[in-house]
């Protein structure tokens, strides 16, 4: 199983990756810029994401908004920003490939002449509303903000979420956009993938034609930080929620580092499906939790392993914590059973196959090729990525749990209904987030 591809790099440094697949008369265009909120600094948080919005507001040679011509051609398009990268994609009918490349290249090369104060201020308002909708007005929506702040020191760029702080967003000015664009939005800091109904030679010709004359830039040096381990802490946050929820987070391996896949498998073993250890104990047998989730969220600078569980009414979060701690200790001591390992291998196998179903969009094949290229320098990392999971053993999973979780410093955040701090873990200090 793999995603066949050809990669070439244009003279200006733009990586171009092509994957031909003729199932549908459609082509996926996917562009990654190696910039995210990790490239921001305190006081300017949320800028990378606000900038992403501006990329949809028109460019020098087509200044009427980015969506209209592509939607009219039957295209689907979107973009997203996270801590590490910003991506943009279109899935268009084969006949509209030129149009999509024209549009993508115009905003890569010629965004700034079209940018006005009105557009900037409008999108700043839109982003503030995005923040209200997805964080401020959502139950438990502020937990991630409080957790990131507690896990990473103030000068570490994972200290804040990609959405940024509302005050920072409000204080941003149009003139900051120019620097950001010239530093990060140029061919040498980007990766273009075309996947679907396109001949590779034609794809490379088109890439050269549309992107070849965009001036190159200097790739900014990588962000280097030494994540000091978090201070073992207990925090409590009041929120407009009915049920209390406990979040436990640890620092964990960065993306693709030793232990990353093992902890990803460990998260499934403890919280994916009814037979997972924590679901079975907390939700199925003891019935003290309404739900439980766990994940290994690995990123470029560091990973975070998180377990979250919502207590049923009348149960304290301390009761959940006891079970979680015992479960991790057992996994650290004995590792998963042969049956658990067999089950998780089957799930891994199917998940990798399911990833091959779509050419475009978030998580489609074009997005994966760009991810492997940007983070590994190797678009063909799919098989090796899967091998990381196949090579995991009961012993390696137990080792990862011991190395990174049991007995390691962690942040325990209790989110409780307003006025009910008694439900929190004992000894928690109150935090605020907004």
């Amino acid at each position: 199983m793999e995603i066949p591809y050809i990669k070439r790099t244009l003279d200006n440094g733009l990586d171009v990756i092509v994957h031909q697949h003729r199932q549908l008369p459609m082509v996926a265009v996917n562009v990654w810029y190696h910039v995210g909120s990790k490239n921001e600094r305190p006081g300017r948080t949320g800028f990378a994401h606000l900038f992403e919005h501006l990329m949809f507001e028109g460019s020098e040679h087509y200044d009427k908004g980015y969506f209209q011509p592509l939607q009219q051609a039957g295209g689907l398009l979107n973009g997203s920003t996270n801590t590490d990268r910003t991506n943009y994609w279109e899935v268009v009918p084969t006949g509209a490939l030129d149009l999509a490349l024209w549009m993508e290249s115009d905003r890569m090369g010629y965004l700034l002449p079209a940018l006005t104060k009105e557009k900037f201020e409008n999108q700043r308002d839109v982003v503030l509303n995005e923040r209200r909708q997805n964080y401020e007005n959502r139950p438990y929506g502020l937990a991630g903000i409080a957790m990131a702040a507690a896990l990473f020191a103030p000068d570490h760029p994972y200290h804040w979420l990609t959405i940024g702080s509302a005050d920072d967003i409000r204080s941003m000015a149009l003139d900051e956009v120019r620097d950001f664009f010239s530093t990060y939005y140029h061919p040498a800091n980007a990766s273009l993938t075309l996947a679907g109904d396109v001949e590779p030679e034609r794809a490379f010709d088109l890439a050269e034609q549309y992107f070849g004359d965009i001036p190159t830039g200097v790739v900014a040096p990588p962000v280097v930080v030494s994540p000091a381990p978090p201070v073992d802490s207990r925090l409590v946050l009041e929120d407009r929620v009915e049920l209390a929820r406990l979040y436990l987070s640890w620092h964990s391996p960065a993306m693709f580092e030793a232990g990353d896949a093992d902890l990803d498998l460990a998260s499934d073993l403890i919280a994916h499906g009814k037979t997972s250890r924590l679901y079975r104990t907390l939700v199925y047998e003891k019935r003290i939790a309404a739900d439980v989730v766990a994940y290994q969220h690995s990123r470029e600078l560091s990973g975070v392993f998180q377990i979250a569980s919502t207590a049923v009414p009348g149960v304290s979060l301390a009761a959940l914590e006891t079970v979680i701690t015992e479960t991790l200790a057992e996994l650290a001591a004995q590792g998963p059973t042969a049956a658990e390992l067999e089950r998780s291998r089957a799930q891994t196998a199917s998940q990798f196959v399911y990833r091959l179903q779509t050419i475009g969009g978030f998580g489609g094949k074009s997005d994966q090729l760009n991810a492997y290229n940007v983070f590994r320098g190797d678009p063909g990392f799919f098989a090796a990525d899967r091998a990381r999971y196949d090579n995991a053993t009961s012993a390696s999973i137990a080792t990862a749990v011991r190395t990174w979780l049991t007995g390691r410093p962690r942040v325990a955040l209790s989110v409780v209904p307003t006025g009910q701090q008694a439900l929190a873990l004992p000894g928690s200090s109150a935090v605020r987030a907004s």
């Binding site: 199932q23 549908l24 008369p25 459609m26 087509y62 908004g65 969506f67 011509p69 009219q72 051609a73 039957g74 295209g75 899935v91 009918p93 084969t94 006949g95 509209a96 030129d98 149009l99 024209w102 549009m103 010629y110 201020e121 409008n122 308002d125 839109v126 503030l128 509303n129 209200r132 909708q133 997805n134 007005n137 959502r138 139950p139 050269e208 004359d213 407009r240 929620v241 049920l243 499906g273 037979t275 079975r280 939700v283 019935r287 309404a290 919502t310 049923v312 009414p313 067999e342 089950r343 089957a346 799930q347 196998a349 199917s350 998940q351 196959v353 399911y354 091959l356 179903q357 050419i359």
Partner: protein, 460 residues
């Protein structure tokens, strides 16, 4: 290499032909309809079992019964425990999705082709022989009550629930699948077993199977395991057509508020009871919706988001069902602009009916956007299976997919204007805001929609 001409956008060329999936049909002797589609892309297969009778089939005193029952499908079957069943699903790498809609329950199982036979056999076991054991019912009852309680915190869920209540009142479409706390508490094991015996019968049900195999293999995968399914002679009556009863067309109130003190935004819904899926104007409504609020470049989004910055996004939709489904505009706006946002939204709905009708440009853009990208909806086995499932639920022809594009292309500007005036009726619309009542109360009165009716988070 020639330079690009940046003075003009490239004109999209003709699109490559696309072959719509061929649907193979069989009817088993027990009445179960089988539809199979070969979909050769990756080694994946998806089976969707559609059982008519969804939330609308809930008895009046048991809102939530259909979804409660469906939720128990994967909680133990064939005498094996929920853990055993879950373990099997995991070993097949399978994903199971249980979707309880207003008109039907759909169970979707996606797995790798090598597991086709055992995974579909497991789906059959879950649908036909769920244990529905007392301890599992009690456990799931508790989980559903907790879920209902948590939804009180979630403004969009509160808004959906309140809107359906305001529009449909006691009509079978007037409640969501989760039902009410009172009803979930009152539901007995006998209610659940009876609903299952009545609803989960082969007669009238359809199974769609799509994947990386020949039609014969796909048929073989379902025929044996579903062939022995019988409709009990004494099957309790489940009203599969409950949604077809006429709903109230005129609301009792035009304006309603669900107070949410300190909310950063107001969650807004504006809508009315509208049309059924079998309306002859379906294709014109698809285009009208694209123009009004169905995509990024729609009128309401360009106005409320891109011009005013009131919101992260706003959309409209015709939720067409077997009975009369709702039209609704949905958005979430900054508290301070609640009244102006509602005013603009209502104005856009009003204007497209006459003062500023859809233009030829808008129609051609909407038409192109719907038709040019149509093949995208047939990329994965799951997309195809769900699409074919919709044909089954609404009695649409096997050639529906091929006919869709020509039908959309045949819609004229006059028709769009006519359906805008006929299907959107501002005088009947209910406007609902879930938000900080104290902050928005005074401005809401300027909307001239009367005194706001204040509801609780439970929609009462």
């Amino acid at each position: 290499m020639s330079r690009v001409d940046r003075s003009v956008l490239p004109i999209p060329g003709p699109n490559a032909p696309f072959r719509f999936p061929q649907i193979h049909r069989r009817v088993l002797t027990n009445g179960l309809e089988v539809r199979a589609v070969s979909h050769r892309n990756v080694p994946v297969v998806c089976a969707v079992l559609i059982v008519p009778g969804g939330t609308a089939a809930d008895p009046p005193d048991r809102p939530g019964l259909a979804a409660f029952t469906a939720d128990l499908i994967d909680e133990g079957s064939g005498g094996r425990s929920a853990l055993d069943v879950s373990d099997d699903l995991a070993r097949y790498g399978a994903d199971l999705d249980i979707d309880v809609g207003p008109d039907a329950i759909a169970l979707s199982l996606t797995t790798l082709t090598p597991y086709l036979a055992p995974a579909v056999a497991l789906l059959a076991e879950m649908a036909i022989r769920p244990n529905l054991a007392d301890p599992d019912i009690e456990r799931v009852r508790k989980l559903r009550l907790e879920r209902l309680r948590q939804l009180r915190d979630h403004a969009p869920a509160v808004a959906e629930r309140a809107l359906m209540r305001l529009l449909y009142r006691d009509h079978p479409y007037g409640h969501l699948g989760l039902g009410s706390e009172t009803a979930i508490e009152a539901t007995t094991a006998a209610d659940i077993r009876s609903f299952h015996r009545g609803a989960f019968v082969p007669s009238g049900a359809t199974i769609v199977i799509v994947g990386d195999a020949e039609p014969a293999e796909l048929f073989a995968g379902v025929t044996d395991v579903f062939g022995g399914w019988e409709t009990p002679a004494d099957a309790p009556r489940v009203n599969r057509h409950a949604g077809l009863v006429a709903p109230p067309l005129f609301p009792e109130r035009r304006l309603a508020v669900v107070p949410r003190a300190g909310a950063a935004q107001s969650e807004i819904r504006i809508g009315h009871v509208c049309a059924s899926r079998d309306t002859p104007d379906y294709h014109a409504l698809v285009l009208l919706n694209m123009i009004l609020g169905g995509q990024f470049t729609s009128r309401v989004n360009l106005n409320l988001r891109q011009d005013k910055g009131y919101t992260y996004g706003v959309r409209t939709g015709f939720d067409l069902r077997r009975g009369l489904g709702p039209f609704a505009l949905s958005t979430s706006v900054q508290t301070e602009v609640t009244a102006p946002a509602i005013r603009e939204a209502l104005r856009e709905i009003e204007d497209i009916r006459g003062a500023r009708p859809a233009t030829a440009d808008e129609l051609s853009m909407a038409r192109a956007s719907v038709t040019q990208g149509y093949p995208r909806g047939f990329e994965t086995a799951q997309q195809v299976a769900r699409g074919v499932g919709q044909l089954a639920l609404h009695g649409l022809s096997d050639h529906y997919f091929e006919e869709f594009v020509p039908r959309i292309e045949a819609v004229t500007l006059d028709e769009v204007g006519r359906v805008a005036a006929a299907y959107l009726d501002p005088a009947r619309m209910v406007t609902l805001a879930v938000g900080d009542h104290q902050q928005i109360a005074s401005t809401l009165t300027t909307l001239n929609l009367g005194e706001p009716f204040v509801l609780s988070v439970l929609g009462q």
